[in-house]
Symmetry: C2
Subunit: 200 residues, 2 copies
Amino acid sequence: MPTLPKAIRQLTESFEKLPGIGPKSAQRLVFYLLHTPEASLQQFADRLIALKKDVVLCEVCHNVSERSPCSICDDAARDNTLLCVVEQPLDAIALESSGTYAGTYHVLHGAIAPLNNIGPDQLYLKDVVGRLEGVSELILATNPTMEGEATALYITELVRAKAHESLRITRIGHGLPIGADIEYADSMTLKRAMEGRREL
Amino acid sequence: MPTLPKAIRQLTESFEKLPGIGPKSAQRLVFYLLHTPEASLQQFADRLIALKKDVVLCEVCHNVSERSPCSICDDAARDNTLLCVVEQPLDAIALESSGTYAGTYHVLHGAIAPLNNIGPDQLYLKDVVGRLEGVSELILATNPTMEGEATALYITELVRAKAHESLRITRIGHGLPIGADIEYADSMTLKRAMEGRREL
């Protein structure tokens, strides 16, 4: 039986490996690319190769960066008494664009998820302890999911045992997001919102 | 404000250009790739470049192929008295895997869609006429959509004017797909299914 040309099948295979892209979507992407100019395919290929070459992980905070230490760790204007632990580089970017935080970050690159075989050793987690000198507050900004909560708990216990007495360990606030509707909020969010109520 | 490294932003941009991939999905794909080995990124890049280099359109039927004429047009065992017009290469592959057709194909690479500025001149349509010598039946297997129907009608008129008297022009059968439920079928499909009923 005649099949599709090998180049099409192989590229489809590469796209299929990406998360959230099934066999049909992969095929659709390849047929789309077949009609794009050769120069833009070349550019796409160059950028794929550049990804690993030009991106490094900062040796201090483990965020993605063009150099190590990264521009945040290297910035003397940042408040070094605040350290914020996040799961992913994109979480740090989101906090940066909110413009409310001027401290430093620590990027775990994931959360503890036993079901996916991700334990503390698979994350950049243990060296948080070595960064606590001079830090007055450690903010745990992992996601409010099962995995994120477990990770926050693990870090709390790890740090409590080894850190100086005066260190405050805080968890990022949970509650109703701005613009949300109490009617449609889930019960866990409402429970957290009630617990986290503040004096006006 | 510190942003993501340039290599990440540029690759995200390339992914965003693909159909059905928005900014968030693109970012997710790039961060996924950041954790894959360099060799598989290199392979992905090589396959992107190979796509345009190794795939040609058959000069006879315009299907995608590794050589021209393609393996179907070049196959002496195929029935050259049957010619089947399809919109896309994948349509021809689907008919091939059904194993019910042994004739040749003609791939239009689209359908007439005035709203998207696709007229007969943007398709491999006009040279169907030149392929009719020795053909006894021309099967129009464009999709049962507005565009596909318009294309089938256009080809019928084009061919009727120029072809030999004995040429049969047929349209692929429409009706209920196997496994479907009459209760949930749309009225247009039911209308076609009633029109296309056959003696048992």
